[in-house]
């Protein structure tokens, strides 16, 4: 089992979609939201994914395919 901390950033069109609920149902993953900021047209959620590493990878790929941006928790780390 593994844990991964990720940040999901939702575009306007997906704000009303229960993406995190679906992620937990369609993949063998436990989702644990730690911090979030969601407005009517935009939102981000910082959460921990708990599960088998291959399942986490599959789940993250699916979330990206839905149109959600997925980043590591510290944000972009490339600088210069």
């Amino acid at each position: 089992m593994a844990k991964q901390r990720v940040k999901f950033t939702f575009p306007t069109g997906l704000i009303k979609e229960p993406v995190i609920w679906k992620l937990g149902r369609e993949f063998e993953l436990v989702t644990n939201i730690r911090r979030a900021d969601v407005t009517e047209d935009r939102g981000w959620v910082v959460l921990e994914l708990d599960g088998d590493i291959s399942e986490i990878e599959r789940g993250v790929r699916w979330v990206q395919e839905q149109g959600v941006r997925v980043d590591p928790v510290p944000g972009d780390i490339v600088e210069g």
Binding site: T9, V46, P72, V73, P74, G75, D76, V78, E79, G80
Partner: protein
């Protein structure tokens, strides 16, 4: 000595001991170094700083690393130039250029990596690592060499040759990742969980970021212990911008400079300007972007400190400015032709933003304005190579030279013989 006392979560305020951690276990917020400011106020004086070495380590009291164990390659105390020529052109009477091209690996990254590598060694890491598009890779490789540490540096496969050599010469394990910058980031984030390496901008990031404050300390000291009225700073993750402001505030809290309500202006390239875009919407909500600009050292689509940079912009009534790639090139040439400083693309962004603000009358001509030039132009020659006239090619004769010169300039200069 260092007066750092703990790490504190910037989101929920939880306090942690000074250890190699970067994220709050509770809310996953970023951690920041806290200092014992009461003890600092009793100890730190201008004279104490002035007696220190001519490097960033003269400010060791305000950094989270033990100066006696510092990894020192001579970083800091770079020139603060009175930019009279550029100032005249832009109608600014007291314009200064902080020329951080003159650090050991030719960018301001030496400041942050000096602190990160010193802390990493104190925490007994034997390997220094990073993901980078150039400047950071160069600095990590150099500091690891000096510290006697191993270096493992991850770069995207399409990086320019000059930047690869600027790292490879120091002997790191250089890993060229076949993927985008985003993919290099993600790989490094996963690796930092698995391997006991000090990724300077991941697991020792709270310490690393503090190194940027030394830019503010130096500028204030070089201005004769005076805070600037206005700073123009490039924005990438937003970390440099917020730390320069933190540095000025710290000096004011400690009574080393007067508080002048310094205005902080941030500059980005249009092809990657998520912070300026949010500022223009009067929002604190960053919309991540896919970078597409020649200013690669600023090309961070989802800036980790974007929110905090927006807070500083608002608090100080600064400006957010995004400039086109053409303006970036013009900015590089303008700085070179007026002040003799060859900056990389991030410097072009700053000068272009400065020029835009001056032309729009948004700068006070009598303010002490400092433009931060954070990296040297030799690293990004590709940006200007097609914009410069080729050299005059002549045969080794007077006639050939004069013919070519006249063709280029339209006339020959007056000769000695009249």
């Amino acid at each position: 000595m260092s007066f750092a006392k703990s790490l504190k979560c910037r989101e929920c305020g939880r306090v942690y001991p000074l250890e190699p951690v970067h994220v709050c276990e509770f809310c996953f917020g970023p951690l920041e170094v806290s200092y014992d400011y009461d003890a600092l106020a009793r100890t730190l004086t201008r004279e104490r700083i002035e007696r220190g070495p001519p490097t960033i380590w003269r400010y060791a009291d305000l950094l989270p690393a033990d100066p006696d164990a510092a990894v020192d390659i001579g970083t800091g105390m770079t020139p603060l130039l009175r930019a009279a020529n550029l100032g005249r052109l832009l109608g600014l009477r007291r314009l200064y250029i902080k020329n951080d091209c003159l650090n050991p690996t030719w960018s301001f990254k030496d400041r942050v990596v000096a602190v990160a590598s010193s802390v990493a060694r104190q925490f007994e890491f034997d390997t220094l690592a990073c993901a980078s598009t150039g400047n950071l890779a160069n600095s990590v490789s150099a500091h690891a060499a000096k510290a006697g540490m191993k270096a493992i540096v991850f770069i995207p496969a399409d990086l320019e040759q000059g930047k690869i050599i600027g790292s490879a010469v120091y002997g790191p394990t250089l890993v060229s990742v076949e993927g985008s910058y985003d993919e290099v980031n993600r790989l490094c984030s996963e690796l930092s969980d698995k391997y006991p390496w000090a990724f300077v901008n991941i697991n020792v990031r709270p310490y690393y970021a503090e190194g940027s404050k030394t830019l503010a300390y130096e500028v204030c000291e070089q201005l004769g212990w005076r805070a600037p009225d206005h700073c123009i700073v490039p924005l990438a993750s937003g970390s440099l911008f917020t730390k320069i402001y933190k540095g000025i505030k710290e000096l004011a809290w400690l009574g080393l400079v007067d508080w002048r309500h310094t205005r902080m202006t941030g500059a980005q390239a249009e092809g990657c300007s998520p912070i300026v875009e949010a500022w223009e919407r009067s929002s604190f909500d960053i919309r991540p972007q896919k970078p597409n600009t020649i200013a690669k050292s600023l090309a961070i689509g989802n800036p980790a400190d974007g929110y905090h940079a927006l807070r500083v912009l608002e608090q100080t009534q600064g400006h957010g400015v995004a400039v086109s790639d053409d303006e970036v090139v013009e900015g590089i040439k303008l700085l070179a032709e007026t002040e003799g400083v060859f900056a990389e693309t991030a410097g072009g962004v700053v000068v272009a933003a400065l020029r835009r603000l001056a032309h729009e009358g948004r700068l006070d001509p009598d303010d002490v304005i400092v433009a931060f030039i954070t990296g040297a132009g030799l690293k990004t020659q590709e940006a200007v190579v097609n914009q410069l006239p080729p050299p005059l090619t002549v045969r080794p004769t007077m006639a050939s030279f004069e013919e070519a010169l006249e063709e280029r300039t339209g006339a020959l200069p007056a000769s000695r013989r009249g």
